[in-house]
């Protein structure tokens, strides 16, 4: 149903939801910290294998149908030093792969009309292939370069993110004990202070003694924060989609004719606005299916959406620990680097599009291939990786 809400009201709703989102992130960090350092570390000991962690990232995102929820949760966990950054990096990459299931599911709705389905499926899966290519290149690179950069144990992506984090905040402290973004003696943001106060108030309601919380209390607080992250992100997406609908329509009309950088900027701006790359990429599917938007013109919009979706993790990093900011920047660096590596070279640029076209041609011969592809890529392979490589 169309809403008659004035944009000013929607902006206020957005700000309120954003505040609630940050509170949920803060709560999640606090709840895990309450478990105690040893217990918290043991939580993710089973997925220390990077490929198992990658699989967890894929499965978690497929399950909640939102990479924003997964990455925001990862930021909160890394920020609270529960999840080691080495494990979180492949998880974030997995979230990138997992998020592309949504537009593939949207494409399946065109299954009855061959030509439409072929285009829609290719339009959706080119996103998958790009993300898979990016992981194939950058995960081994990250693993091979681990420990090559002095004090930190991360690889090239982590180190780049650390350097970027220092650029954002020269007072950043990445010593193992520090969980605050800004040093205690420095200026503290009023947003962070008020988020902290609200989170503390909620914690005081749920937990009787914050120093000695019971497992049940911690689990309950964790579930509240996870639900909070999910609900606030869904709310932000729905609210912003209404607020920017007309702008999105204008931008997409422009994108039908434009390609390249303009498309990328449009994809990025749309995704930053609605906090969901799935919304942006799913909007493209019917236009691709109808043949009004070519795969080549849609591809840069998809890449822009990939970059734009990193905003959620960066927002979450506002109230997370120092390493939270680093993992959020790893997410950004990974997507920027993948785009910078694949897009500028003409012979490589449309490789994901060509692969997607080949797969779509196969699914036209037998529609079951499309179902098999979704199940194998997003469920069976990640599940097998996770179970086989679990420590």
């Amino acid at each position: 149903m169309p809403s008659r809400m004035h944009p000013a009201v929607r902006v206020l709703i957005f700000l309120a939801l954003l505040f609630a989102f940050l509170v949920a992130i803060k709560l999640m960090g606090s709840s895990i910290k309450s478990l105690g350092a040893d217990t918290a570390k043991n939580l993710f000991a089973g997925v220390s294998n990077p490929f198992a962690a990658l699989a967890v990232g894929v499965l978690a995102t497929v399950l909640v149908q939102s990479s924003s929820v997964t990455t925001a949760t990862i930021v909160a966990m890394v920020g609270s030093r529960t999840l080691p950054i080495e494990t979180a990096v492949p998880m974030v990459m997995g979230a990138n792969i997992g998020t592309s299931i949504t537009n593939t599911m949207v494409a399946l709705a065109h299954v009855r009309r061959s030509r439409e389905f072929e285009l829609a499926f290719a339009g959706a899966t080119m996103h998958d292939f790009f993300n898979l290519m990016a992981v194939i290149v950058f995960l081994p690179l990250e693993l091979l370069t681990r420990g090559q950069f002095g004090v930190h144990t991360g690889g090239i992506l982590t180190e780049s993110a650390v350097q970027l984090a220092y650029l954002f905040d020269s007072g950043l402290d990445l010593s193992a004990e520090t969980v605050e973004v800004v040093k205690a003696q420095g200026w503290k943001s009023p947003i962070k202070t008020s988020v902290g106060k609200v989170a503390k108030f909620i914690t005081s309601i749920v937990v009787s003694d914050s120093k000695n919380a019971s497992t049940m209390e911690v689990v309950f607080m964790f579930l509240i924060s996870l639900g909070g992250i999910f609900i606030t992100l869904v709310g932000i997406t729905k609210n912003m989609k209404q607020l920017i609908a007309n702008r999105a329509e204008e931008a997409l009309n422009r994108a039908l004719a434009a390609s390249g950088m303009i498309g990328m900027v449009i994809g990025m701006a749309l995704t930053v606005s609605v906090q969901s790359s799935s919304i942006t990429t799913s909007l493209l599917v019917p236009m691709i299916a109808a043949g009004v938007l070519s795969l080549e013109n849609a591809f840069p919009i998809t890449l822009g959406a990939n970059i734009g979706t990193t905003i959620t993790a960066l927002l979450a990093a506002m109230v997370s620990g120092s390493w939270g900011l680093v993992i959020a920047l790893v997410h950004l660096t990974f997507n920027l680097a993948a785009t910078a590596l694949i897009y500028p070279i003409p012979s490589v640029r449309y490789l994901p599009v060509r692969m997607a076209r080949s797969l779509a041609a196969l699914t036209i011969r037998n529609r079951l291939w499309s179902i098999a592809y979704v199940l194998i890529t997003f469920v069976f392979v990640p599940l097998a990786l996770m179970l086989l490589l679990k420590d």
Partner: protein, 223 residues
């Protein structure tokens, strides 16, 4: 820069743009129709009109395709919120495009026969042309304002042009002996009748629901 903030978020900026494009199509259609008639009835040199007329027709076709694309984008972004409006636009844009096609047919006809002032059909054709052109001139504003009373008057006027064209054709059919000029006149009346019919269809969208669009041989308003 902040215009988006002044309008309600659900305001149909996209629909307004599509409506403007439809109005441009009708205006271009009128220009094409008048150009074709200026050769057919007014004695203008076809060579001076041809390139402009064909370019106008291409612009009309491109506008129709653009409206279709915009409908698709609008539907993708807003869902089914404006479904009836989108269906109406899809239908009336086709009618507006057909006006250009019939104007082109009138011009093609003028390659074989024209109707100078000495022709017995000249006066009737000129009269129908003026009334049809006037309908085309009034239609864009009427579509935009969605004034039902004026739309009903408009539809009655369009009906008169349609019936007049039919009567003129029947008149020629009843002749014992016909000439090539008579056959050309019948075609010209038929093409003008179709132009009046299509602009009538466009304006039925102001008074009729989606399912009654185009049914101009039935009452335009539910009784």
């Amino acid at each position: 820069m902040f215009n988006w903030f002044k309008t309600p978020a659900e305001g149909s900026v996209g629909l307004a743009k599509m409506t403007r494009d439809l109005e441009r199509m009708i205006n271009e259609g009128r220009h094409e129709f008048d150009s074709a008639c200026s050769v057919l009835i007014g004695g203008a040199d076809p060579d001076t009109v041809r390139s402009d007329l064909l370019a106008t027709d291409k612009r009309i076709n491109r506008l129709e395709q653009s409206i279709r694309r915009q409908i698709l984008v609008h539907g993708s972004v807003h869902g089914s919120v404006h479904l009836p409006e989108m269906m109406v636009l899809m239908s009336v844009a086709k009618d507006a495009e057909r006006i250009g096609d019939y104007a082109k047919n009138l011009f093609a006809l003028s390659e074989y026969r024209t109707f100078p002032s000495s022709s017995k059909h000249h006066k009737a054709l000129r009269e129908v042309r003026e009334r049809t052109s006037s309908l085309l001139a009034d239609a864009p504003e009427l579509y935009e304002t969605q004034d039902k009373d004026r739309a009903t008057e408009f539809l009655d006027s369009a009906f008169e042009v349609i019936h007049d064209c039919e009567a003129r054709m029947v008149e020629v059919f009843k002749q014992e002996v016909g000439t090539g000029q008579d056959a050309a006149a019948v075609l010209a009346f038929r093409y003008m009748r179709r132009v009046a019919g299509h602009i009538h269809n466009v304006i039925t969208a102001v008074v009729n629901p989606v399912d009654k669009l185009d049914f101009y041989d039935e009452p335009t308003v539910d009784e």
